[in-house]
C-alpha cells in the first residue's frame, strides 16, 4: 500500500496534480491560481462523493489505514503527567496493551489502551495490538487498582483480535477474557470505552465493558473479522466485502442496534487526514461522557451498566413453539 487505499486513487491523483502545479508556479500567476482553485473545488467534490458513500468494507480499510492514529497518539495528545504501569504480576508485561494513570484536563483517570504500533519494529513490540492472557490480566489488575482509589477508567480499543497462539491457550486466553467480562461489569468506577479502529471480537470485548461506548465513525466492531467470517461461511476469505456488509459492523449499524452510545465524527477521508481535529472532537465527547457518569450515584451507575448488557440481544417469543414435539434423547454421533 502506498499510504492510500484503492478506492482513494482518484483523490490521490488529483491531489498530486494540484501539488505539481503548485511546484511549477514560481511567482504569482493569476491564471495558475485560478486553475488551482478550480481543481481544489473539484477535489472537494470528489472527496465528498467518495467518502460520503463508503461501503462497510471501505470503512474497515480506513480503520486499518497505516497512517491512522493509534492509541498512543491519543494518550500523547490528551493526557498530562502520564505514568505507565506495567505487568500482570503473574507472568509478563503484555505490550499489546498500555495501562497507566494520567490526567485528561483536570480529570485523573486510568487508561487501558490497545496499541498496534506504527513501523515494523513497533508493531512487533506491540504484537500488532493482539493481547495475550497476561494482557487481559494486566488490564484487570490496573482497573481494580483504579477502582480502589476512585479513579474512572478510559478504555481505548484497537485490535485485530486476541492473539491466537500456543502460549495464549496454555495460559488461558478464554479464562482471562471471561474473567474481565464478569469483573468489569461490577467495577464501581465510571468506565468509558472508545473504539478507535478495529474492534475484533472477544479480543476487543475483553477490555470493552463500560458505562458509555463511543466509536469513531470509521471504526468497526464485530463478532468476527470480515475475512474470518468469509472463510467460514463463504468458504473463501476473498468474500470479505460481502461478509463486512452482512455482519453490519460499522458505527452506524452498532448505534442502530444499541451496542454503542455515540459515534465520534472523523474528518472527511478518515482520522489520519486530520488527527488533531479527531483528537479534539473525541476528547470533548469523552469528557462529556465522564461528566454525565460522575453525577450518578455509584449504585445507580452499576445498575445501569448491568441493565445495559442484560438487555442486549434481539429475539422473538413465539407461543406456538411450546407445541413443538419435545426433542428426545439419542447420540448425535450414531446417525
Amino acid at each position: 500500500m502506498n499510504g492510500y487505499l484503492d478506492f482513494e486513487k482518484p483523490i490521490v491523483e488529483l491531489e498530486k496534480k494540484i501539488a505539481d502545479i503548485r511546484d511549477f508556479a514560481t511567482g504569482e500567476s493569476v491564471e495558475l491560481s485560478r486553475e488551482i482553485a478550480a481543481l481544489e473545488k473539484k477535489l472537494e467534490r470528489l472527496q465528498k462523493e467518495i467518502y460520503s458513500k463508503l461501503t462497510r468494507w471501505q470503512r474497515v480499510q480506513l480503520a486499518r489505514h497505516p497512517k491512522r492514529p493509534t492509541a498512543s497518539d491519543y494518550i500523547k495528545a490528551w493526557m498530562t503527567d502520564f505514568v505507565e504501569l506495567h505487568g500482570d504480576r503473574g507472568f509478563a508485561d503484555d505490550h499489546a496493551v498500555i495501562t497507566g494513570l494520567g490526567k485528561l484536563d483536570n480529570l485523573k483517570l486510568l487508561v487501558v489502551a490497545q496499541e498496534k504500533g506504527k513501523d515494523t519494529k513497533e508493531k512487533l513490540h506491540h504484537n500488532f495490538g493482539m493481547m495475550h492472557p497476561e494482557g487481559y490480566r494486566k488490564a484487570l489488575r490496573t482497573m481494580q487498582l483504579a477502582a480502589r482509589f476512585g479513579l474512572p477508567i478510559l478504555v481505548l480499543i484497537d485490535t485485530p483480535g486476541a492473539f491466537p497462539g500456543v502460549g495464549a491457550e496454555e495460559r488461558g486466553q478464554a479464562e482471562a477474557i471471561a474473567r474481565n467480562l464478569r469483573e468489569m461489569a461490577v467495577l464501581p468506577v465510571p468506565i468509558v470505552v472508545v473504539i478507535l479502529g478495529e474492534g475484533a471480537s472477544g479480543g476487543a470485548l475483553g477490555v470493552g465493558i463500560g458505562d458509555r461506548i463511543l466509536m469513531l465513525e470509521n471504526a468497526w466492531y464485530s463478532v468476527i473479522s470480515p475475512e474470518g467470517c468469509a472463510a467460514i461461511l463463504w468458504r473463501d476469505s476473498e468474500k470479505k466485502e460481502e461478509a463486512a456488509e452482512a455482519l453490519k459492523l460499522a458505527s452506524f449499524d452498532l448505534l442502530e442496534m444499541g451496542i454503542i452510545d455515540k459515534i465520534l465524527p472523523e474528518p472527511l477521508g478518515g482520522a489520519h487526514r486530520d488527527p488533531k481535529k479527531t483528537f479534539e472532537t473525541a476528547k470533548t465527547e469523552v469528557l462529556a461522557a465522564f461528566g454525565e457518569l460522575s453525577v450518578l450515584p455509584p449504585e445507580e451507575r452499576l445498575l445501569h451498566r448491568i441493565e445495559k448488557y442484560r438487555s442486549m440481544g434481539r429475539y422473538t417469543v413465539d407461543p406456538e413453539l411450546e407445541e413443538l414435539p419435545s426433542p428426545v434423547a439419542g447420540p448425535e454421533a450414531n446417525q
Binding site: Q173, G202, I259, I306, G313, E322, V328
Partner: protein
C-alpha cells in the same frame, strides 16, 4: 467458530426406541466396532478407549437430574434475524432447518430440576443446533437460567457444548458473552454455586464467557477446549500443533479446569459438590 463446519448433518431426531438396535458402530476415536446397545448402556462411552461420543442435551438431563423433576422454561424464545443475514442460506432458513432436524428451538435447553433432592437451575447446550452456537436466544436463555438461580437461591449448572458465538447475529452474539458474564457477577456476589461442565467441543465465545466462570469447572475426557480455533493457531505459528493441544487434559495440566470427570461419574461428582457448597448448616455470609 470453525467447528461449525464439522456440524454433522442429520442428527438424532427420532424417538429413542427408533434408534436401530443391534447395529454395530465404529468408535470415532479408536475404530473399534461396538455393539450400539452396549454403547448406549455405557452412556455412549467407548468401552475400549473411553472415547466420549457427543450426546444430546436430553441425555445429560437424564444423566444428571432426579427422575420426574425436570421442568423446561423459555422454550418459546426464538431468533429474530436482526441482521437479515444471508450467506449461502438465509439465516431464518438455517434456523428453520435446524429446528426441524433437532426439534430444538435453539442451541440450549434450560429449566429446573433436582439433583440428589436439591433444586437446581440447569442449562444444557446442544451441538446439533447450528454447532451449539450462541446468539441472542442462547444468551437470553442462559441469562434467565442465571436469574432463576438468583431468584430461587439455588445452584446453577451449565453443560456447555459450542463452537462459539453465532456469526449470523454479528455483534449481538458477541454481546451475549458480556450479558451472561455480567449476570454471573451477581450470582457470585450472592454466593450461589455455579458448576460449569465442558463437553466436546467448548470453544471461542462460550469458552471465553460463562463456560470459564464456574466456581468448579468439570471437563469430560478428551474434549476440545480453547479460545482460538486449532486451524487458526496452526496458521499463526506456521507449524503443526502438539498432540493433545487444547484437550481437557491440556486444560487440566495448565490449571484451567478443576477436574476431568467421566460421564458415568458426572452425577455423583456434581451431587457431592452441591453437598459441600451447602455448607455445615451455619448461616451463609
Amino acid at each position: 467458530m470453525e467447528w461449525f463446519k464439522k456440524n454433522r448433518e442429520g442428527v438424532a431426531g427420532g424417538e429413542k426406541k427408533e434408534i436401530p438396535k443391534g447395529l454395530w458402530t465404529k468408535c470415532e476415536s479408536c475404530g473399534e466396532i461396538i455393539f450400539v446397545r452396549e454403547l448406549e448402556k455405557n452412556r455412549w462411552v467407548c468401552p475400549k478407549c473411553n472415547y466420549h461420543f457427543r450426546i444430546r442435551f436430553s441425555d445429560y438431563l437424564e444423566l444428571l437430574t432426579d427422575p420426574d423433576t425436570w421442568k423446561e422454561y423459555d422454550r418459546n424464545i426464538t431468533s429474530a434475524d436482526p441482521l437479515r443475514f444471508k450467506d449461502s442460506k438465509r439465516y431464518p432458513d438455517r434456523i428453520r432447518e435446524a429446528r426441524k432436524k433437532t426439534s430444538l428451538t435453539d442451541a440450549v435447553v434450560c429449566g429446573t430440576g433436582k439433583i440428589g433432592g436439591r433444586a437446581v437451575s440447569v442449562a444444557v447446550m446442544d451441538f446439533s443446533f447450528i454447532g451449539g452456537s450462541m446468539g441472542s436466544v442462547v444468551g437470553e436463555k442462559i441469562a434467565r437460567a442465571i436469574e432463576r438461580a438468583l431468584e430461587r437461591k439455588i445452584p446453577l449448572i451449565i453443560v456447555s457444548c459450542s463452537g462459539g458465538a453465532r456469526m449470523q447475529e454479528g455483534i449481538l452474539s458477541l454481546m451475549q458473552m458480556a450479558k451472561t458474564s455480567a449476570l454471573l457477577a451477581q450470582l457470585q456476589k450472592k454466593n450461589l454455586p455455579f458448576i460449569s461442565v465442558l463437553t466436546n467441543p467448548t470453544t471461542a465465545g462460550v469458552m471465553a464467557s460463562y463456560a470459564s466462570l464456574g466456581d468448579v469447572i468439570i471437563a469430560e475426557p478428551k474434549a476440545l477446549l480453547g479460545f482460538a480455533g486449532p486451524r487458526v493457531i496452526a496458521q499463526t505459528i506456521g507449524q503443526e500443533l502438539p498432540p493433545g493441544f487444547q484437550s481437557s487434559e491440556f486444560f487440566l495440566e495448565h490449571g484451567f479446569v478443576d477436574m476431568i470427570c467421566e460421564r458415568k461419574e458426572l452425577r455423583r461428582t456434581i451431587n457431592l459438590l452441591l453437598e459441600y457448597f451447602s455448607g455445615n448448616g451455619s448461616p451463609r455470609a
